[in-house]
């Protein structure tokens, strides 16, 4: 059984936590979560908490850089970096 990709886990988590009315597959890796999918500052914090729970990592205050949260691809790179 193949392991689920980080991107796929992220998309599922985003749709579930933000109660989005789309399927996880519809989120495109490179499209802006903020401009295209309507993620705002409050839902961004929900995503930060979601990432911590889903991947067992801690998002430090110093990690709060909008470029890391802009797209699923950027989030995936961030998660991989944090997971070492």
């Amino acid at each position: 059984m193949s392991e689920e990709s980080i991107e796929s886990r992220l998309k599922k988590m985003i749709v579930e936590r933000l109660f989005m009315k789309i399927s996880p597959d519809e989120i495109e890796d490179e499209k802006s979560l903020i401009n295209v999918y309507g993620v705002d500052s409050v839902s961004l914090l929900e995503l930060v908490v979601g990432i911590e729970e889903e991947f067992g990592i801690e998002v430090e205050d110093e990690d709060f850089d909008v470029r890391s949260f802009e797209t699923v691809a950027a989030l995936s790179a961030f998660v991989q970096r944090k997971m070492g």
């Binding site: 109660f19 409050v42 914090l45």
Partner: protein, 274 residues
């Protein structure tokens, strides 16, 4: 026809803005709402109004009020302490009892930090035997930490990255300074008061509690399982359920809170029947 009256409770302290929902016909009970704090109050107001109307239609007299320094009540938020707000809950309860003398013992319904305050307000109050908690704050220190994180997230959205860190903001509070949370001034005193709530005991004394965990999940989170244990250790008789609903206290947009209202009404009806 039920009525809604807005007025000020100005008995023994700063005037508290309040709304009383009074049912048509027999009053089957009375409910006092304890609001959340900071931005969560603004985001929760509409759902609380809808809940108050729904409970009123089910025969309950309902009182909603603003703590001093909040909403339309007298006072400055920056000057307030937890003790002030516990006093306000007591005043609102007395008001409700005076205006609904035929009702059974009143129920307190606390939302978020309002739930945490409600549990403290039970000390020395034998009248209240039932409490409803909507996503209460189990750990005030962590709660403030999350509020500070919200601040950082907003800075990140505005400036690209945050300008402070939680550590620097906490250091500011520890030095006796204030921190701005979306326009609400969190004073060093209030921060200290809130942190002290974490170690304050709770006086369950056999009271019944309905705790509703509101989230994207359909099962109760680990933190609320632990919280239930704390409630049981403090002699509360608790019912803990998960309600799958958006975190309405965090959202600017409308959230249909019907599942939360329905579950609460169901529990209230069972309690009235027994």
């Amino acid at each position: 026809m039920s009525t809604e009256q807005q007025f000020f409770i100005d008995d023994t302290g700063p005037a508290l803005c309040a709304t009383l929902y009074f049912p048509d016909g027999d009053v089957s009970g009375a409910i006092l709402f304890c609001n959340p704090m900071f931005e969560e109050l603004k985001a929760s107001t509409r759902l609380m109004v809808e809940a108050a109307r729904a409970f009123c239609a089910a025969g309950f007299a309902v009182l909603r009020f603003d703590y001093r320094g909040c909403g339309d009540s007298e006072g400055e938020f920056a000057d307030m302490s937890v003790g002030d707000w516990l006093d306000d809950i007591g005043r609102a309860l007395r008001f409700l009892n005076n205006h609904c003398p035929t009702a059974d013992s009143p129920v307190i319904l606390g939302v978020r930090l309002g739930g945490t305050l409600a549990l403290q307000a039970l000390r020395g109050n034998e009248e209240v035997r039932r409490v409803v908690l909507w996503e209460p704050v189990p750990d005030c220190r962590s709660y403030i930490g999350q509020e500070l994180r919200k601040k950082l997230t907003k800075e990140m959205m505005t400036f690209g990255s945050n300008r402070a860190t939680r550590d620097s903001l906490l250091a500011e509070l520890a030095a006796g300074g204030n921190v701005d949370l979306d326009g609400y001034c969190l004073s060093a005193r209030l921060y200290s008061d809130l942190c002290n709530l974490d170690s304050a005991g709770m006086a369950g004394d056999g009271r019944e509690v309905l705790l509703l965990n509101v989230s994207h999940q359909t099962s109760v989170s680990r933190s609320y399982v632990k919280y239930r244990d704390r409630l049981e250790e403090s002699s509360f008789s608790s019912t803990v359920d998960a309600v799958r609903l958006q975190p309405f206290w965090n959202l600017v947009g409308y959230v249909d809170g019907q599942p939360l209202i329905d579950r609460t009404r169901e529990w209230l009806a069972t309690a009235v029947e027994s």
